[in-house]
């Protein structure tokens, strides 16, 4: 289901502001839909938060509501001053998390 994908530039110039793109496969079930046959509401299950950390320190955070489209795409910027590792964490309703990391070099 999830398989997150991220685009992080491998080489970043010091002082440069670069765009990070992230995508995770997820239905983002809103809780508003009903089962065709039974008429029962399909329960909500969405990715409700996203966090990016560089070397353990949070650099960007997002809280998502059911209005966010399926397969959430989130893009943001970073401007690191030294090489490091960026970790992405997606949290689903119920607490399950999905993670992905990427390394970058600052020169």
């Amino acid at each position: 289901m999830a398989q997150p994908r991220v685009r992080v530039p491998k080489k970043i110039k010091k002082g440069e502001v670069v765009t990070i793109k992230t995508l995770i496969g997820h239905k983002m079930e809103t809780g508003l839909r009903r089962n065709k046959k039974t008429g029962k509401k399909i329960p909500r299950k969405i990715i409700n938060s996203f966090e990016a950390k560089i070397d353990g320190k949070t650099v960007f955070k997002a809280v998502l509501h059911p209005a966010v489209s399926a397969n959430p795409f989130i893009s943001f910027t970073i401007s690191p001053d030294k090489s490091g590792t960026i970790e992405f964490i997606w949290t689903e309703d119920g607490g399950k998390t999905f993670t992905k990391t990427a390394k970058f070099e600052v020169a």
């Binding site: 009903r34 650099v59 997002a62 209005a67 489209s69």
Partner: protein, 158 residues
């Protein structure tokens, strides 16, 4: 395809009015017959985020299509004009949809490591409506941006 796809104009509309969301809209997430937000709901949602602070127009730019062809996935780009330092740093940005079942869409928090107060994502829109963005600055000021996005095929297939 489902039964309702074969039913012509008027009959399909009466399905909509009857609020039987399931059949025609099983593949999309926003169903008719679901109450959409009103101004009070939007104000309440904003109060949750910024309390009694009064937002001032400015600094926020919202990049969105003038006409969204597919209400299920509308690309939105937010940018807040800021030096990203001192009192002018952007703490958080909150996005609201005036005409969705629930006005809250997303919130983003920035840090000095962000470099810029920019974020992009994709959202569901039930119908033509205003997207409102609040930007909370480090010095406590709140700025606001608003953008009308027309939706032809709403997250409700029609």
């Amino acid at each position: 395809m489902s039964q309702t796809e074969q039913i012509e104009g008027v009959h399909r509309r009466s399905f909509l009015i009857a609020g039987v969301g399931g059949a025609a809209f099983a593949t999309v997430q926003l169903t008719p017959g679901v109450a959409l937000a009103d101004k009070a709901a939007v104000a309440a949602a904003m109060k949750k985020a910024i309390g009694d602070k009064k937002p001032v127009a400015g600094k926020v730019s919202i990049d969105a299509p003038e006409i969204a062809e597919n209400g299920n996935t509308v690309p939105i780009g937010i940018e807040v004009e800021s030096k990203m330092a001192g009192g002018d740093a952007v703490k958080a940005v909150h996005v609201y949809a005036e005409g969705n079942p629930n006005p809250e869409v997303a919130s983003f928090w920035f840090t000095p490591g962000s470099g810029a107060a920019k974020a992009s994502f994709r959202m569901r829109m039930a119908k033509t409506q205003n997207i409102i963005v609040l930007a909370e600055m480090a010095d406590g000021k709140v700025y606001m941006g608003k953008r009308l996005v027309k939706v032809t095929i709403g997250g409700c297939g029609g």
